[in-house]
């Protein structure tokens, strides 16, 4: 061995300098393997490598057969290496077995490894291993037993199972956990390769399931999963056991060893979830047993880690597979939403996959994520794109089929993977055939693309069923004729062009169609068709199958006369062909072209659709033919998660039913009565509503429907306000690409929204998507200027996810839905200084939501009591004194300057009242002259006008920003305006909510929107929980309902009527907070403020 060492040492300096060869870096040992590896990395060409390996193999071969066994282990490793590089070392197989048989323990290990790498189950040499395994299974050395079991669970000849089965069974009682576990896995392997061999030991499986070691139990689940997959009925009785196990796992009852990154036994959880979904499928009573644990799993998996997502994903799949339960479905849908919207591409992919699973049950979900789906369609990663198409395929209906097919064909053009192409081509063809009638030309064109793209890889039934469709036709003779004619028309130019590039299958279709239907085109001479077809025969790459199709077509077409020369020539050429089929066809052609009478009898025109024998067979009891798409559908249904509706217990099933009855597109409707019954879709653009198509035109309509809220004081004037609201606000034009996306969305998701109007849970949400805006001016003649000034630039979405969301909203909704006009300056005339202007002008302000966590259409409706106009000449103003008297007793925020110009100074503050928040705007005239047409009328020089506006929040946002404009007129007559904005944190709207613990309990269960987070605890001398809660109470005006031990419950409400409940628990130095509310975004906003409040301490 010393020579090896020497070699290595001499090689060392050169190795050190060779950075580009990582293989040379490690001098792992003086082993020959090291030398071999290093040698290989230094080579430059494949040829050299081959030479070296061959040389090496020769050397190994020589040595293995020599009696020097000390080298065996090393030789084996080297031959494994050579095999891995792709060179055969079959001579060493037998030596590997020998090594496993005769070697010492350590040699055995390598021997077994080599065997498991070299051989596969069916290799005959494996029989020689049986005895070794038998011996080792009986060994007293645990390591030997382990090795034997390991190799057995990887590969074992099927027929020899009975020989070792008793020994393996015996190991199930072994005191060592690791042995029992391996034995169970070996039995699993046996079950997979020869289920009937282990039939009799099912009770042993049950024993393994009840094993005291969780590892053995986990191993037994593999067997159960397999058995339940085959026959779920037989194992229903085990459901409660599986549920209990899962409950214990989720509850963290397993030893720490089973944790993976602090998640308890994720592999086990997933295995159990898969088993449960199989058991609960189509079985209500079994499903009911598992609802609770599924809910718990969903809630426990809160950590932001791949492993929890894996569990969540499995959980969602399970929930959608078993008998549905509405609140679970709701949570699962939310989960899917999180996946789809995730910036992590892997999660997005899984989200799309999950959507694909559930979309037929719940098309609303796809609708909710339509913008994301559109983005995914353009994703640079083809895998994502492909999955999106799969999803679209599932939601195809008569209205969006053209767009979806177009997208699929686009993908086909760039896809390089054969498997994908075959699959997609099949799907396109299926879709095209499902909806052929509506779009004749589209159908033919699509099929043409399918044939040319799919080439010869596609399933043979595609051209067959296409031809069948053409020949059998539909109800209307005229339509059929048009369809066929169109097909003929499209093929002629193809043949005139370069038919050599067309795939064989397509050529066959073309020749058949031309043979049958070219007569439909009257300006087309049969002679021309014949010569075109004859050209196909001359092409080098035409297969003989294609040629016989062409000859068949020619036979149908030839009439003698002018075309006789062509047919004659062709038939002569091919009647001596070596191919018997071609020769046969050529002879047919020859005879039939000469005898028109015979031809008419043999090949009557239009006869191809009549198969009398079919009806005979049917009468005799044969199974009726199923069109391919129907077969495909049945296949899909058996493969996918349960897609058929379950009973009628849920509105869901209604929605899935309705997907099948496609309505014709309803007319555009401009109805303004929509707002009443629309469903809130959380800022999702509605493309297709009850009344019809809403897309594209929607923003305009929306705006037109906008009503301006009436101030509280003047309910009687509403009629007048309504007459004003028809003005269309100016809009920021949507950028072009956005518009494209929008259009795409509307064309893709057409026909889905009609289903979506059935709410998943059957309960309508309190917030109408549209908001109303009513304006009323008091005073003499009021006019109304609506200046909608929201554009995407005004909204600043904070986080990436929301960014997406927000942009989506912008894309789809345009301004009006997003941020709402809210506060509006109404006016009354002040009597103090008497001047009153006939031309009072109403200025309206916008509120925009800037809000990190939500879909927003926060709508703050304002109603203002009359502003005051206090006279006075003040240079230095203490604005405090201008606060209206009724507000002066209440606490108000600091008066903040808003903006100013040479003539006006604007300041504002907000005052918290029990039921509302009052925004007080101070308008100070800082100029020498009086200013008119301030909403309040005239403001004399250096005086202050005060306007107050009551704000309420309809949709929560972290901050509510009020944007307004003050329009005024200088004495000179020039109109001017001043814009301002004022930001109010949501906390200003929060009020304590006094409830009892019982009330809290009932409310908690009924609220559907929740969020969870860990907050920092305040650690001072006091009890941390109380300290933290008190701090929150002080900062956010919460009401602490009760503190029990390490848990506390807190309640608050958003102004009068929107409650939010908070559950706090001290957990490992953190405060685990769980918020629930009936209002979608309130919990998220509040948690944000809680965080801020605690951070600022």
């Amino acid at each position: 061995m010393s020579d090896v060492v020497e070699k290595t040492l001499t090689a060392l300096p050169s190795l050190l300098s060779l950075d580009s060869h990582p293989g040379s870096a490690k001098l792992s040992s003086t082993s020959k393997l090291g030398n071999l590896i290093r040698g290989i990395t230094e080579l430059t060409s494949k040829h050299e490598e081959e030479k070296l390996i061959q040389h090496e193999l020769l050397a190994i071969k020589e040595q293995v057969s020599s009696p020097n066994t000390t080298m065996m282990k090393e030789l084996m490793v080297r031959s494994i290496y050579c095999e891995m590089l792709g060179y055969e070392a079959s001579f060493s197989y037998i030596h590997a077995i020998k090594l496993a048989q005769q070697g010492t323990v350590l040699e055995k290990r390598v021997g077994y490894l080599a065997v498991s790498l070299f051989l596969n189950e069916s290799h005959e040499l494996l029989l020689l291993l049986v005895n070794t395994v038998l011996k080792d299974l009986q060994s007293t050395n645990l390591i030997e037993v382990c090795m034997a079991l390991t190799v057995v669970s990887q590969m074992f000849p099927k027929d020899m199972i009975p020989a070792i089965l008793p020994l393996v069974e015996e190991k199930l009682n072994h005191p060592k956990e690791i042995i029992r576990r391996k034995a169970v896995l070996a039995l699993y392997k046996f079950y997979l390769i020869a289920p009937n061999q282990v039939q009799h030991i099912h009770n042993k499986f049950r024993k393994a399931l009840c094993d005291k070691d969780p590892g053995v139990m986990t191993a037994s689940l593999h067997i159960y999963l397999q058995m339940i997959q085959e026959n779920p009925e037989a194992y229903k009785d085990l459901t409660p056991s599986f549920v209990t196990i899962l409950k214990q796992v989720v509850g963290g009852k397993l030893p720490m060893d089973f944790n993976y990154h602090t998640v308890p036994a994720p592999w086990l959880q997933i295995q159990l979830l898969r088993i449960l979904s199989l058991l609960g499928k189509n079985d209500q009573s079994t499903s009911e047993v598992m609802y609770e644990v599924l809910d718990e799993s969903l809630q426990r998996a809160e950590m932001n880690h791949n492993i929890t997502y894996a569990i969540l994903y499995e959980c969602v799949k399970c929930i959608y597979t078993i008998h549905p339960k509405s609140d679970l479905l709701e949570k699962a849908a939310k989960c899917i939403g999180n996946f789809v919207l995730s910036p992590k591409i892997n999660l997005k992919y899984l989200g799309l996959k999950a959507l694909t699973y559930v979309v037929q049950q719940d098309p609303k979900l796809a609708l909710q994520h339509q913008m994301t789906i559109i983005e995914c369609l353009d994703h640079p990663d083809l895998i994502i794109k492909r999955e999106t198409l799969e999803l679209l395929f599932r939601i195809t209906n008569g209205q969006n089929v053209t767009v979806i097919v177009e997208k699929m064909l686009e993908f086909l053009c760039i896809s390089e993977d054969d498997h994908t192409t075959i699959d997609l081509v099949g799907k396109v063809a299926e879709l095209a055939e499902k909806y052929p009638l509506k779009y004749n030309e589209w159908f033919i064109e699509t099929m043409n693309t399918v044939f040319s793209l799919g080439g010869d890889m596609m399933q043979p039934d595609i051209p067959n069923s296409f031809l069948k469709l053409l020949s059998e036709g539909f109800d209307s003779v005229e339509e059929d004729r048009k369809l066929r004619l169109f097909a003929v028309n499209s093929y002629i130019p193809l043949l005139r062009g370069e038919p050599g590039k067309l795939p064989q299958r397509f050529l066959q279709v073309i020749s058949w169609v031309l043979g049958e239907y070219s007569h439909l085109r009257e300006d087309l001479e049969p002679a021309e068709v014949l010569s075109l077809l004859a050209k196909l025969l001359d092409m080098k790459n035409s297969s003989s199958e294609t040629k016989s199709w062409v000859l068949m077509a020619m036979t149908k077409l030839c009439k003698g006369g002018a075309d006789a020369s062509v047919t004659q020539e062709v038939s002569e050429t091919y009647s001596s062909s070596l191919d018997t089929v071609l020769r046969q066809r050529a002879h047919e052609l020859q005879y039939l072209s000469q005898d028109p009478e015979l031809r008419a009898r043999v090949l009557p025109r239009g006869s191809c659709g009549n198969f009398a024998f079919v009806s005979e067979a049917l009468a005799a009891g044969a199974a009726p033919y199923k069109p391919p798409h129907q077969r495909q559908e049945e296949l899909d249904q058996s493969k996918a998660l349960s897609l058929e509706p379950y009973g009628l217990s849920l509105p869901i099933s209604m929605s899935s039913c309705s997907i099948t009855d496609r309505q014709s597109p309803t007319l555009l409707s401009m109805s303004s009565g929509l707002s009443g019954d629309t469903l809130k879709l959380d800022g999702i653009k509605r493309v297709w509503g009850r009344e019809g198509y809403l897309a594209q035109r929607e923003p305009v309509e929306e705006a037109a429907q906008v009503e301006v809220p009436s101030p509280i004081q003047s309910p009687g004037r509403q009629g007048e306000g309504d007459s004003l609201h028809s003005q269309t606000p100016t809009q920021t034009p949507t950028p072009e690409p956005e518009q494209e996306k929008q259009q795409l969305a509307s064309s893709l998701f057409v026909g889905l929204a009609s289903q979506s109007s059935v709410s998943l849970m059957g309960k309508s949400e309190p917030m109408p998507q549209r908001f109303r805006r009513k304006a009323k001016g008091q005073g003499l003649g009021s006019s109304f200027i609506a200046n909608e000034q929201i554009s995407s630039s005004l909204i600043s979405p904070p986080s990436a996810v929301d960014n997406l969301l927000c942009n989506n909203l912008l894309d789809s909704n345009n301004a009006s839905e997003l941020a709402e006009q809210t506060s509006q300056l109404s006016q009354s005339l002040t009597t103090a200084n008497g001047t009153c202007h006939a031309e009072a002008e109403l200025t309206e302000s916008d509120t925009k939501g800037c809000n990190p966590a939500l879909r927003r259409d926060n709508c703050v409706v304002a109603a203002g009591p009359g502003p005051h106009n206090d006279p006075g000449r003040l240079t230095e103003v203490c604005l405090d004194s201008y606060l209206p008297a009724e507000l002066s007793g209440l606490s108000h925020s600091e008066i903040a300057p808003l903006c100013a110009n040479q003539s006006l100074n604007l300041s504002a503050c907000h005052v918290q009242k029990e039921d509302s928040l009052i925004l007080v705007v101070f308008i100070m005239n800082s100029s020498e002259s009086a200013i008119q047409q301030i909403p309040a009328g005239e403001v004399t020089s250096y005086s202050v006008a005060v306007g107050q506006y009551s704000l309420t929040v309809k949709r929560p946002a972290v901050h509510v920003e009020v944007v307004g404009t003050v329009s005024y007129q200088l004495p000179a007559g020039t109109s001017q305006s001043l814009q301002f904005s004022y930001k109010v944190p949501l906390t200003s709207f929060i009020r304590p909510f006094v409830v009892s613990t019982e009330e809290y309990g009932t409310m908690w269960l009924s609220f559907s929107h929740d969020t969870k987070q860990n907050l920092t605890l305040i650690n001072d001398n006091q009890e941390p929980l109380t300290a933290t809660l008190n701090a929150l109470k002080k900062k956010l005006q919460l009401h602490v309902v009760e503190v029990i031990g390490m848990e506390g419950i807190v309640a608050c409400r958003l102004l009068q009527d929107l409650p939010c409940l908070m559950h706090c628990r001290v957990n490992a130095g953190w405060l685990a907070v769980w918020l629930r509310s009936p209002v979608p975004d309130l919990p998220d906003c509040l948690i944000y403020h809680c965080q801020r409040a605690l951070q600022s301490l």
């Binding site: 010393s2 950075d19 990582p22 293989g23 870096a25 490690k26 001098l27 792992s28 040992s29 003086t30 090291g34 590896i37 000390t70 490793v77 494994i80 891995m84 792709g86 323990v105 350590l106 290990r109 490894l113 498991s116 790498l117 596969n120 189950e121 069916s122 390591i143 382990c146 390991t150 669970s153 990887q154 690791i178 576990r181 391996k182 896995l185 699993y188 997979l192 590892g215 593999h222 060893d257 993976y260 036994a265 592999w267 997933i270 791949n306 492993i307 997502y309 894996a310 994903y313 499995e314 591409i345 892997n346 997005k348 640079p380 990663d381 895998i383 994502i384 492909r386 993977d417 498997h419």
Partner: protein, 188 residues
């Protein structure tokens, strides 16, 4: 799981484990195709692939690609975690593992894999337990090796793989959890 492949960025196969019986020709074909497909993908792309009727889950650690083929109903994310756990195991065993460890000690990598996955299913997911099992077998091996060396009378400067891992250009495999103190080699 149907099979697991480890290959380098250059497309060199480093480890292969097949849990379904396939002919050598088929294996080679699959390996070639997959290596090509996976290497062609850009870093920010999805870790999942649909390939033939299988799903491929792959992840790159430094210069090595770990690639698993699973069936349709299997969970992709948990497969990613299987890969990750395997890397963690290797890391702990070799002490911040690098590609070279796997090249020169591929049989060890196989032993670890066999202890972790059996017949394509995760059999033992606890890092501690897997390594304990390996350690026990190793211990036996090292002892015998040592005895043999005594008999042979030659002194082997670096018996164990990591024996002199003065890193010449080791590329450490970056994994999320910082590797704990490197596995103490059982050297007699």
């Amino acid at each position: 799981m149907q099979f697991m492949l480890l290959f380098s960025r250059q497309g060199k196969l480093r480890l292969q484990k097949w849990y379904v019986p396939l002919s050598d020709k088929e294996k080679k074909k699959i390996t070639r195709e997959l290596v090509q497909t996976v290497l062609a993908r850009k870093p920010k792309m999805c870790s999942f692939l649909e390939w033939r009727d299988l799903k491929i889950v792959y992840k790159r650690y430094a210069s090595l690609y770990f690639c698993c083929a699973i069936e349709d109903q299997d969970n992709e994310l948990i497969t990613l975690e299987i890969i990750h756990r395997y890397v963690e195991l290797l890391d702990k065993y070799f002490g911040s593992v690098c590609e070279l460890d796997i090249i020169f000690n591929f049989e060890k990598a196989y032993f670890i894999l066999d202890e972790f996955l059996l017949g394509g299913e995760a059999q033992e997911t606890s890092k501690k337990n897997v390594l304990k099992a390996i350690e026990q077998a190793d211990l036996l091996q090292e002892n015998i090796d040592f005895q043999m060396r005594l008999f042979a009378g030659s002194r082997d400067p670096a018996q164990r793989a990591g024996g002199n891992r003065t890193d010449i250009n080791t590329i450490f495999i970056a994994i999320h959890t910082p590797p704990s103190a490197s596995y103490s080699a059982v050297c007699s």
